[in-house]
């Protein structure tokens, strides 16, 4: 499967498998680089780094994707854009379900998260949550970066109970 490079007229294609490998390896690398002498890995620090990587990337990507479309007038518009255009650009599909409490909390549900489609989990849902926790850092960062650059300060957290179904919770931070 090939992924076209965004925004270029001469569509250069890259094998999607390389993106899959890169994402998985990135998480593994963070853990290895944070492994202490006792053999324990500092999961929080690794999560923080991955999330920040996603943040930078999300900010730059959103600049590119919003180039030709009109600007946004409110927060709901921005979140809807993330669910549609941004998700399509990244994962070639839209978010399957968006729920909000109209007070600054949005829940995005993806029934078949692309980056999890080649992973399998074993054990109970609690085990899967723990294992997939680190793999959600980068996507959460991407969403936070995209929202951040569009002017919405948020905290994004992710949850997964059965691969490949996952949810992202966006909480708008009060200024």
């Amino acid at each position: 499967m090939a992924t076209a490079v965004l925004g270029h007229d001469d569509r250069r294609l890259v094998a999607e498998a390389s993106l899959d490998f890169l994402v998985v390896e990135m998480v593994d690398l963070m853990h290895r680089s944070h492994a202490g002498e006792t053999g324990e890995t500092d999961r929080e620090a690794a999560y923080f780094k991955l999330e920040n990587l996603g943040y930078q990337l999300g900010m730059a990507m959103v600049e590119r994707i919003t180039k030709d479309r009109p600007r946004f007038l409110d927060n709901l518009d921005v979140v809807k854009f993330i669910c549609k255009d941004f998700w399509i650009a990244l994962f070639k599909k839209q978010i399957d379900n968006l729920k909000t409490n109209h007070r600054g909390v949005y829940v995005l549900t993806d029934n078949n998260f692309r980056w999890f489609s080649r992973m399998s989990g074993d054990g109970t849902s609690a085990d899967i949550s723990r294992q997939a926790f680190a793999h959600l850092a980068f996507p959460c960062g991407l969403i936070r970066g995209a929202l951040g650059n569009l002017g919405v300060a948020t905290v994004v957290s992710g949850e997964v109970t059965t691969i490949p179904h996952c949810t992202f919770q966006i909480k708008i931070s009060k200024p």
């Binding site: 919003t66 479309r69 009109p70 600007r71 569009l150 002017g151």
Partner: protein
Amino acid sequence: MSSNSYFVIVGTRDNPLYEADLGQPPPQPQQARVADGGGKKDEHKHLNQFIVHAALDVVEDLMWGTSAMYLKVVDKFNEWYISAYVTASGAKLMLLHDAANTDGIRNFFQDTHELYIKALLNPFTEINSPITSAHFDTKVRALARKWL
């Protein structure tokens, strides 16, 4: 005569990310220009920055009312017009000019926006930090010559 146009990219915190004096080259030879226009140019340079800064308020006001990117002429100072173009992330591209050339200016803004995005794609740049690349500068001047 002071320069014909002055282009600024302003970040989301009202900090200038890039400034360029895009004076059109006059028909006289180089030496004559320096002799008579040199002093005047320096005097007006800081004024350009001041004028654009004052126009920022107007731009802020306008940008929440419309979902368009190109805001056309937002302000006027003596004989100069200020046009603005706002990107989705809140970066403002402002141009101080004296001729009214809407189409050319719109195209200039669109091309500079693309250039700005390309500059941001560099993983080593931070989003709200000044753009110091000489390559970016050359490209902006080439675009100015083309559209303005």
